[in-house]
């Protein structure tokens, strides 16, 4: 019936249902009252005025109700309707027939309407009110306070009953309709929610308040997510703790216990192991749901699969790390390159490189080894920190063989990486570096040969990646080349210095030669002039004198030239060294000098035992010859000139020391150095070119030996020199 009227939506199902009910009642009551009046008019015309009055009142009330409903006044409409019905029944009962009047049955309808329209206690109130009204009517009739009852004919009685039956039927029908609609609605909304819950890309669950209570509900997405059946979760209270990732289990359980105590919302990201063994990152968020009384009833939670998010996050972190490291490598490389190109001193370059790498890579220790001349040992040349300094001072070195990481990388010309040295047998644990957990050894190779290796050590296990090794190797190559360059530069520097020295000597040489060779020429040409005068003047005595001067000058020039030639041969022409007993050399020299020595009656005493030496024999014979003839020359007025030749132990390098001692005029200490200089002569009255001792010194030095003199004026002189042993 209400379908003919479109009722507005009153905002809630309950209000809509009430409105529908009241509306139906109002309309049906209106219609029924018209029918009732018509029936009265036909069956009991005597009662028509009263019937018309009641029907009019009811219709009016119904009209007002409908208007009220349409304006939203559902409650007022209900009250009005119930009240009017009650008033009409009461009026009918009082005026016509008392408690026996058929209209009294209407109270049942009023009670039903009240029951539908209100809740307790109003509902009860209406029931009580109706009972009381009926009781009041009955009492009034008992006390004959009411007019005498009218006898209703059966048809009239049926008409009244029918009225109420129909209203009751409408009430039943509408309320049933409402109820079924409500149920349908509730059902559809639950389906909606459930389908929502079970189709959204997260897993929802409800779990009990007890820590170890099983899940009350878990949405089916879980089966896709982890592969376990839902029943596992809902039946086994501890199942979810069993699939936690071992690394995360502890903190998850701890947090979950805390939440259970504090009732604070739980939110965590952790890993679980899926049935197929995958690791799945979950974001678990749950909140406590309380009932209407505020008592905690269950946890409502959501599991979101954040594996991809985590992976992306990890990738991002990895990317950032890689970029950071790359930047670091570039920075280090730039610094090392700068050092490599600007530092030509090898030691400075090595230590700067070690420091740079240590700072940039935040490692514990960096050491640089260079292979020594023998090629057997890698010697620590630069290292970081106090430990490094100590190890360098201790002369730390490693054998070039595969027993150490350094040795291995030198022999294999390859980088070697040990990520947890405890497990890597190749590394020789160094007691000075106890904290090392991972290590790289990088060969230093330049111009195709391995000149050493670098070790980089970290306190962290697995501190180095392949990328690091590549970058570090590039740097190591750079350093190796720089070392090689520095080495060449140093060599060139030494060579330059040597050239400078040679140049200086050459300058001195040409200067002296121009002076000393010129000198006899001045004599020769000068006296040649006088020779002519002598002939003219017939002064034969002076002629002979001058001739001698010229001849001596010519001899002197000859000697000078020969000695210069000998000097220039030293170091330029070298006979292969041979092992010779030193006394053989001495006797060979003495034989050559026998004439002059005998003439001067010089006694020569030669020691009985001499070590064997490894020398250019001819040159050393020259040395002895020079030294002995020098000794004989500077005897002064010594009555018993004597020369002693002997050996006297070894120097710090293990080279035997020899000496030639005389008892001649001696040399004052201030001339001890000068006598070895080219063309330096102390006594012009004694024959000599000033080359002899220079020659001796140079020959000794080309043999790697040393010569020095110990003497005082008037107390003889001893020349000491060393030679390489055989």
């Amino acid at each position: 019936m209400y379908r003919f009227f479109q009722l507005p939506d009153f905002g809630s199902d309950e209000r809509n249902a009430s409105a529908r009910l009241i509306f139906s009642l109002a309309i049906s009551m209106g219609l029924m009252s018209v029918l009732l009046a018509a029936a009265v008019w036909i069956a009991m015309p005597a009662l028509l005025p009263r019937a018309l009055m009641i029907a009019g009142a009811i219709m009016l009330a119904c009209a007002v109700s409908v208007t009220l409903i349409c304006r939203g006044g559902i409650r007022a409409a209900g009250v009005l309707l119930v009240f009017v019905l009650w008033a009409a029944i009461t009026a009918g009962a009082v005026t016509a027939g008392g408690i026996g009047a058929p209209v009294v049955i209407g109270y049942v309808v009023v009670i039903m309407m009240g029951g539908l329209l209100w809740k307790d206690p109003q509902r009860m109130l209406i029931t009580v009110f109706c009972i009381l009204t009926a009781a009041a009517i009955a009492l009034a009739q008992q006390g004959s306070l009411l007019p005498p009852p009218i006898e209703y004919p059966p048809a009239a009685r049926f008409g009244v009953y029918l009225f109420f039956f129909i209203i009751a039927a409408i009430i039943q029908r509408v309320s049933a309709l409402n109820a079924s609609e409500l149920i349908k609605k509730v059902q559809s909304s639950e389906i909606r929610y459930r389908s929502l819950l079970e189709n959204i890309p997260v897993t929802t669950y409800l779990s009990g308040m007890e820590l170890e209570s099983p899940f009350q509900y878990i949405s089916p997405q879980i089966e896709n997510l982890l592969g376990y059946p839902r029943a596992n979760f809902t039946l086994d209270p501890l199942f979810w703790t069993k699939i936690l990732h071992p690394d995360d289990a502890e903190r998850v359980l701890e947090q979950s216990r805390r939440s259970a105590q504090t009732l604070e919302p739980f939110a965590m990201e952790y890993r679980v192991i899926a049935k197929d063994g995958r690791t799945v990152w979950l974001k678990d968020e749950s909140v406590l749901v309380r009932d209407e009384n505020g008592t905690p009833s269950y946890w409502l939670g959501v599991w979101t699969d954040i594996t991809n998010l985590k992976k992306a996050e990890e990738e991002q972190t990895e990317l950032i790390n890689r970029l950071t490291r790359r930047t670091l490598h570039l920075q280090t490389a730039a610094d090392v390159a700068r050092a490599a190109t600007s530092i030509l001193d090898i030691e400075a370059l090595l230590s700067q490189t070690a420091d740079l790498i240590q700072t940039h890579f935040e490692c514990y220790y960096v050491g640089v080894f260079l292979v020594d001349e023998t090629g057997e040992w890698a010697v620590l040349r630069a290292a970081t920190g106090e430990i490094g300094k100590q190890m360098i001072n201790m002369g730390h070195r490693l054998k070039v063989e595969a027993s150490s990481m350094i040795g291995w990388s030198i022999t294999h010309r390859q980088a070697r990486i040990a990520l947890d040295v405890g497990a890597d047998a190749v590394r020789l644990a160094n007691p000075s570096l106890p904290l090392t957990r991972s290590e790289i050894a990088l060969p230093l190779s330049a111009h195709g040969k391995v000149i050493g290796a670098m070790t980089i050590q970290s306190e962290k296990p697995s501190a180095f990646s392949r990328v690091d090794v590549t970058a570090l190797q590039a740097m190591a190559d750079l350093v190796a080349n720089a070392i090689e360059n520095a080495r060449l530069f140093t060599e060139r520097g030494l060579l330059n210095k040597e050239l400078e020295l040679q140049n200086e000597e050459l300058e001195r040489f040409t200067y002296t030669v121009s002076h000393d060779l010129r000198s006899p020429l001045v004599t020769i040409r000068g006296f040649l002039g006088y020779l002519r005068q002598d002939v003219i003047s017939g002064n034969m005595k002076r002629f002979n004198e001058d001739l001698t001067r010229i001849a001596n000058a010519v001899d002197k020039m000859q000697t000078l030239l020969n000695e210069l030639l000998a000097l220039s041969r030293v170091g330029r022409i070298a006979n292969p060294p041979e092992s010779v007993p030193f006394d053989a050399i001495v006797w060979e020299a003495l034989n050559l000098l026998s004439g002059p020595l005998d003439a001067a009656k010089t006694r020569v005493k030669v020691a009985a035992e001499f070590p064997t030496v490894r020398v250019d024999r001819l040159r050393i014979v020259e040395v002895i010859q020079n030294l002995v003839s020098n000794a004989a020359k500077f005897m002064g007025d010594q009555a018993e000139p004597s020369i002693e030749i002997g050996a006297h132990g070894t120097d710090s390098d293990g080279k035997p020391i020899f000496y030639i001692r005389d008892n001649g005029i001696g040399i004052e200490p201030q001339y001890h150095e000068r006598i070895f200089g080219l063309f330096n002569r102390l006594d012009p009255s004694i024959e000599g070119t000033g080359i002899g001792l220079t020659l001796v010194k140079r020959i000794i030095e080309t043999h790697g030996g040393r010569i020095w003199v110990e003497s005082e004026r008037g107390k003889g002189a001893t020349f000491f020199f060393t030679l390489p042993p055989a």
Binding site: Y511, D516, V522, T523, G526, F527, Y530, N552, D683, P684
Partner: protein
């Protein structure tokens, strides 16, 4: 100057060269006396009147010093330095007479206030001419300082 005996000091380690100088000077009557020293040390002993030359009577001041550069014991340059650093001796003209043409020697000599630098010529006539001119210039034309004894 006239009547005063002219004394030339010759410091020369080469006996032949000394003979050449002395002979030429004698022949040309350049000097009344030439005192010859074989090394720098004895020359300085004479000039500073040490040891055997302590008596001023026996060590009159020379009018000119002819000095070779390369000398035994004390080098010519050191003799020059000692003379030019001495208040008493620095006014004596020092003529370096050497075989060296090296620029370094020339520079060092003049740096140490040598008054003249002569290179001994190779050749009899040239040698004689130089000695001649040398005598003429330093002992003839040149006005020498008056030296206190």
């Amino acid at each position: 100057m006239i009547g005063e005996p002219i004394l030339v000091m010759l410091v020369e380690d080469n006996m032949d060269h000394a003979e050449l100088v002395i002979r030429t000077m004698e022949e040309h009557r350049i000097a009344n006396r030439v005192r010859h020293f074989l090394d720098g040390q004895s020359a300085l002993d004479y000039l500073f009147r040490r040891e055997e030359f302590a008596d001023p009577q026996k060590s009159p001041r020379p009018h000119v010093i002819l000095l070779d550069l390369r000398l035994p014991r004390v080098d010519g340059i050191d003799v020059l330095k000692a003379v030019k650093e001495s208040d008493e001796l620095k006014s004596i003209p020092v003529v370096v007479l050497t075989t060296s043409e090296a620029e370094k020697d020339v520079a060092r000599a003049y740096y140490n206030h040598a008054n003249s630098y002569l290179v001994k010529p190779v050749g009899f006539e040239e040698f004689k001419k130089m000695m001649d001119d040398l005598g003429f210039y330093w002992l003839g034309w040149n006005t020498n300082p008056h030296l206190p004894d």
